[in-house]
Symmetry: C3
Subunit: 215 residues, 3 copies
Amino acid sequence: MTTSTALLLADLTGVAVFAASGASAAVAKRLDLFGVVFVGFVAALGGGIFRDLAIGEVPPLAFADWRYAATAALTATAVFWLHPQLARLRTTVLVLDAAGLGLFTVTGTIKALDAGVPPAGAGVIGMLTAIGGGLGRDLLTGEIPVVLRREIYAVAALVGAVAVVVLNLLGQAGPVPLTLAAGLVFGLRLVALRRRWSAPVAALRPPRPGAPDAS
Amino acid sequence: MTTSTALLLADLTGVAVFAASGASAAVAKRLDLFGVVFVGFVAALGGGIFRDLAIGEVPPLAFADWRYAATAALTATAVFWLHPQLARLRTTVLVLDAAGLGLFTVTGTIKALDAGVPPAGAGVIGMLTAIGGGLGRDLLTGEIPVVLRREIYAVAALVGAVAVVVLNLLGQAGPVPLTLAAGLVFGLRLVALRRRWSAPVAALRPPRPGAPDAS
Amino acid sequence: MTTSTALLLADLTGVAVFAASGASAAVAKRLDLFGVVFVGFVAALGGGIFRDLAIGEVPPLAFADWRYAATAALTATAVFWLHPQLARLRTTVLVLDAAGLGLFTVTGTIKALDAGVPPAGAGVIGMLTAIGGGLGRDLLTGEIPVVLRREIYAVAALVGAVAVVVLNLLGQAGPVPLTLAAGLVFGLRLVALRRRWSAPVAALRPPRPGAPDAS
């Protein structure tokens, strides 16, 4: 009971944080109030909706439990009105976002394993749960997804997803190890932010003159 | 029987109208004939495909009943050949589009309720059914979705979805009240167009010098 | 057994080829290593994931069989390191991509028919299986999908999907006719490339002065 309540609170915290990141991006793009709420909704719940479709849990939790959509909508509306103050909380938002990343990675991977998805696929679904909302946010606001370009973000989620899969194979997927896995993602992400770690980018040589563009 | 036929005709009218809006956008982007038909297909059927996946109705109606895809493809092809004439019908298209919005909102919400989705989630799914095709159209043609930026559009759908949910809770979701709900969306959208109503946009203060961009 | 192994090998070849096309596009956009692998994953497996969701096969094969994700990830990583050499193989890549198009069209259509989707819908799903990954690749890298703009690509897939549906209706969907259908797509695509065939583009007349943009 307490565990379940703690999990729900943690889950809704993740929803709120991701909704705030989506709403901030939408405000910066001059979207209207509805657009801000909608992008916040997608950023907060898009990853989980994809996860639930992929594991056959319909309707997805985002539609089955009104608290998820309500949390996302209220948070995004608050950001719409309060965003100048929010800008001063930039560091707080980044820390909360890293916490949401860790949480969604762990719950996404666990749900996929529980639904009978094999380990490798479950890890991928867990990572997609964590980064899917941010992908949707960037597609809706006309950006190449930042998660594909900058910093260690998805990689932190992937490391955490692999950790959860391994814990599960070892029969050790209890609350404490899973919390540690979420903490691992959180820590990796914070260190990457602090040290400006990035994944490598391929060296581009100048194309030969007249070479056609590869489709 | 008559009701069912009327519903099908209304549904296919909505498909045709949304296919025309998608095809027009694709023609303006200089897509080829296939691209025009494809964007028309997505605009007409994308919202319904998402709805069916979310409520676990597979294969989605767009694939299960050939009349849907055929209506979308024929309409988009006709727009491809006739679009200069269509431009003169701009007002007609906007009115039909508002009618499609009302219809898809009502049928989407009802289908989600019938599939056992709780009220709040069913309302969100109904709204997404109505605006999903337009979102897909704009993503495919490289635009930030217009529904997030301008005018009362999704909000009209949301109001209609809430009306359907309330009617259903009251046990009053018969043909006449549902038609009135569709008419409510239609009317709201037309009045918003006529009076140029828009949802509010957040005031942006100039960023502090040197402040980094929030991710 | 041999047929099944041959099919798996052919399927994984298609995955590898589409992963290479996605990874190449991501390298050109200066995405980091993770971004390159992710876009490769989407290009290789996105069409199949959509197909499996639409026919209710959950979890999708891309998550249920680790060899699919592994093939996509390894190929994309190889492209990341080797892409300057790959540029010299441009013709090879285009030929392999045409082969992948034929293969995914046939397997996608057959799987949809086997899942009970009616003929017209199964053909559309087969075509979407073949072109879906390329659509995802272009959306992620901020392009209007090339399949909607240039050359005979999706149309070749559509012709092949119709051929498979007709073969199936005639009770002739054995290995040899299906291989011929894949070959038909392959050949159409190669001839279109060679002769620079394109689908027609609508003639745009100059807009009347002051005419508002159709939404």
